[in-house]
Symmetry: C2
Subunit: 192 residues, 2 copies
């Protein structure tokens, strides 16, 4: 009866994906495929049974992240459009995927074109939610008159700066967790 073979294949695929996520997060995207194969306890060639190129493997990981972020953000819509809540949620999601997201920002230049598009798409999604929350508070007169995109870019720039220098700001620890409150407080103080 069928099943066992397909199941095994699916499991190997998942093992490779999990291993790649771990290796890429810990050692960067230029980690050789042999390391991933070792981590997944699978032969080197097996990777290419499941993914035609390393790039396609990477895009698979990025897609998983993108979808998770999207669904998490949408779940927020229900809780009203409070901007502080949104910032908290944003950081929570990033903390959940911190190691991977950090690599995404710090190794952005070397990403293949398709990955850059996905990254851009991810930021657009965040931006849309950000705008909704901000519009409300702007019309309520709570926020300074500064172009929306500048406010958004300041926020992202700040977070990325902390991620990039995480080893210095919070060695062997999650920077975003450690500075979550500080980041939100200071940012709110700036835009009010």
């Amino acid at each position: 009866m069928a099943g066992s073979r397909k199941l095994q294949k699916e499991q190997t695929r998942e093992r490779i994906i999990a291993a790649a996520l771990k290796v890429y997060s810990e050692r960067g995207f230029s980690s050789p495929t042999t390391v991933i194969a070792d981590e997944a306890q699978v032969s080197h060639g097996s990777i290419f049974v499941h993914f035609p190129t390393v790039e396609s493997l990477f895009l698979c990981l990025l897609d998983g992240f993108s979808q998770d972020l999207k669904s998490e953000l949408h779940s927020l819509v229900e809780c009203g459009n409070d901007i502080t809540k949104l910032l908290e949620k944003h950081l929570d999601i990033l903390i959940k995927h911190e190691a991977f997201y950090k690599r995404l920002t710090t190794e952005a230049v070397y990403l293949p074109e398709e990955a850059k598009n996905t990254s851009f798409h991810i930021q657009s999604t965040v931006s849309i939610h950000f705008l909704q929350a901000l519009e409300k508070e702007i019309s309520a007169g709570e926020i300074k008159h500064i172009p929306f995109h500048m406010i958004f870019n300041t926020w992202l720039g700040l977070i990325h700066y902390y991620l990039l220098n995480g080893d210095f700001f919070a060695p062997n620890e999650s920077v975003l967790t450690r500075y979550k409150n500080t980041l939100i407080e200071c940012f709110m103080a700036l835009i009010k």
Copy 2:
């Protein structure tokens, strides 16, 4: 009589340095040495006559930038400690070395340890001037009560974010030149 040989050697060295600066700025720090050799119109092996490793060549470039930035910043001390002036000067210096500095921020992770130290040293120098200018305005009550380092990190984060996404914000053009005034105005509006 001596001279001609030494002169020639010095000139080839300078040609290699200039070529490396151009190639690294345009194509990133992982450009192969053969490209640099071609650009300098010099044989591949010549690079290793002048620099024991590619890393030492890169450190030579970084050192040149570091020294220039330092001397430019010091020249500012004379013109008083106006914060807007400082931001302008900061951007002017970065614009002068924009392509190289952009690579420095976007490829920071892959830099050798010694280069990271130099980069850190560069930011410290900027930070000191920043602090001096800020203290004056803080005590004058012009600026919000936010930890100094957060203000500085917000500024750097914003600039680096624009550099990183320069191809999108200002394709085939200097992002910093195009957004210089916007960046300064918005940042000043935020911290006041």
